[in-house]
Amino acid sequence: MSIVTVQLGQCGNQIGFEVFDTLFSDSHSSQGLCSKRENEAYRASCKERFFNEEENGVPIARAVLVDMEPKVINQTLSKAAQSGRWKYGQHAYFCQKQGSGNNWAYGYSVHGPRHEESIMNLIQKEVEKCDSLSGFFIIMSMAGGTGSGIGAFVTQNLQDQYAHSLKMNQIIWPYGTGEVIVQNYNSILTLSHLYRSSDALLVHENDAVHKICAKLMNIKQISFSDINQVLAHQLGSVFQPVYCAEGSFHYRRNPLEGFKDPALYTSWLHPIHALNVWKTQRAFSKYEKSASLVSNSQFLVKPLDMIVGKAWNMFASKAYLHQYTKFGIEEEDFLDSFTLLEQVVASYYNL
């Protein structure tokens, strides 16, 4: 079952590269503490999921790269090709020269429709190469113009065209003290649109990852490259093939038992239904033991509330609104987004 990845904007493309690199390195790392047969099954599964086999043997990532300026895409394509171990498809990218100016409306209402056919064609080509399509993985940031605006547009199109496939969006939550002034507008517009067309939003907060780099890894000068690598590492461990939980636990003191505490879950859902455990014999990326936790919790309520609050304050004073209205995003659309996100916040508070 294959996954087609769509990398959007500067953020999406840089992270996408790191993810594929991590996945490739992991699947080709030595033995991984399990039997040879196990290792081969793991490698074959990972390859089928994320890469396409070519005649000369260099795997090609099942990905489509989209950006409105050429610099990052060119860098990404060449980095991959230079490694010699895997690469992107020769024509699997779409880019323009002008950028989106950090304007969601420009990405969504101008770039999106204008380049819809080209982008969807590229995606269609990747889908046709898959024996069976598991779904789409869309990597984008929330705060900019390309990733957020075009990301929302493309996700909507995927919903229409591939209604039965699953779509997961990887969202990069901007720094609280970010540099883009209208990042809160972009964020709320992205989130409200994705709520309607995506199946799952996997969120990484820049602030949180930054803390990991600083405190856990003791990196002094944290660059985006460090952050992206941590991100890719986390994503890689989530995406690699695993088995469904079956059989009893081998070790007595299993930390996962702690997750079965009902206090962690809502009153209307029994822990048995809420907690799913997947295991694999094969170790990830040279670790002896590792665990990844993906949770749908109230963690994001505060940050979301904060972003909505800040966006609302800007909106109330009509700051920078003309940048959006001139590209077709009216105040109505903003209000709809606010309403929807307030609903989401309320549902999470009331769990």
């Binding site: 399509l133 039965h164 209307w268």
Partner: protein, 426 residues
Amino acid sequence: MGRRRRLVDPAAEAGAGALPKVIAALSRSLPAGPSPEIFRRAKFDRPEAAPALWQLLFRLLSPRSADGASASLALEAQVCLVKSALRSQGYPRLVLAQLPEDGSRGSRELLLALSWLLARGPLPEQLLAQAHVQLGDEIPVCECEALASPGPRVPHVEAEGPVDIRCVQWLMGRLRFRWRCLIASQQEQCTLLSKIHLYTRGCHSDQRLGHLSVAETEMLRDPEGGQQLLRRLERENTGLEAALEWRRGELVFWRWMDTVLGACPPEAPAAATQPTFLPRIAERGLGRLELAARELRALQEELCEATGRRRAAWEARVGGQGRGPQWSSARQALQKAVEQELAALRWAWEQDRGPARPHGPHRLVRCEDEAPGGQHLRAAEVIQALRSQEACLEAALRRLQGQCRQELARLAGALPGLIWILPPRC
């Protein structure tokens, strides 16, 4: 219960060994068939023969799809199911309903019930047809099978106290997710089938088929699988031969069943006056039917008149319009919509017609040329018919959703100060 006519068949009177042979053949042609000894004991209503007969009836009456799960059902549950299934099919003898639930007694009555089922239709043949080994890639072209066998029965559980709506939402989401996974794997299956059919072109000895099916490919690829298939075919063969042997000698069985019936005590007189369970249209119902038919005819006339008037009025209004290039695309769209609706309507009407419509599973064969065979069904036609049915159902769904929304809005409007915000994803 009717009694079979007494035919003096010299061949059937051949020796005392004929009866056990015929019963053994019957057993071999049925799933979980008990030994002739059980049948003999059942004639004398011996209790030890009852469980085997309950289990046989359970296998015959339970839905086909539940084979694996139902085999592990307790005897009491099987007894319950057999009783209710026989009752719903109209079994007339009340003695059966009064048998104890633990399945410990009543072997003679069960024997009578079995022969009642056998007398109603070609039961062994039907069961064999259901269990027929398919060598080709079979796909259904109609909904009948899916609708007829609703799957294993889910116990009806009353919710304890109010149900949290969030739980329901979560379950709905999970269901939707499962549906999508199912569709994805079906698409994968189709792609793989297509590949196999393409790659094995020219490999089949049967020219009409031309390529191998999955089962046939597997047989070549994996000898162990081929052995298993062979064993299944041999089992089916055995079943067929047993059914033939049963048919050749069944008169012996029926004559013997007459003696079994004779051995029963006469039914209590009160039982005879009980109404049978078969539905019957009451006398006054017939009058109502007449009335309904008259009303329908009157309605049809009215409709014809109304449409005639409408059409005349519309034509008068439109007059010479409807020509020219800007109309052609609109007209094309209209034509397409009308065609679709017509096809859907036809499909809906023809639901009750018999074998004229494509039915049941068909073998999937990839064909290059346009071989027009009477039994052949073109995939394009089936797809077209299913698409129009889908369009119909979707339109109906949208209509119902609209009605629901209006009703909700009306209810919300009745409460002052309540702002109604619809959920974003419908």
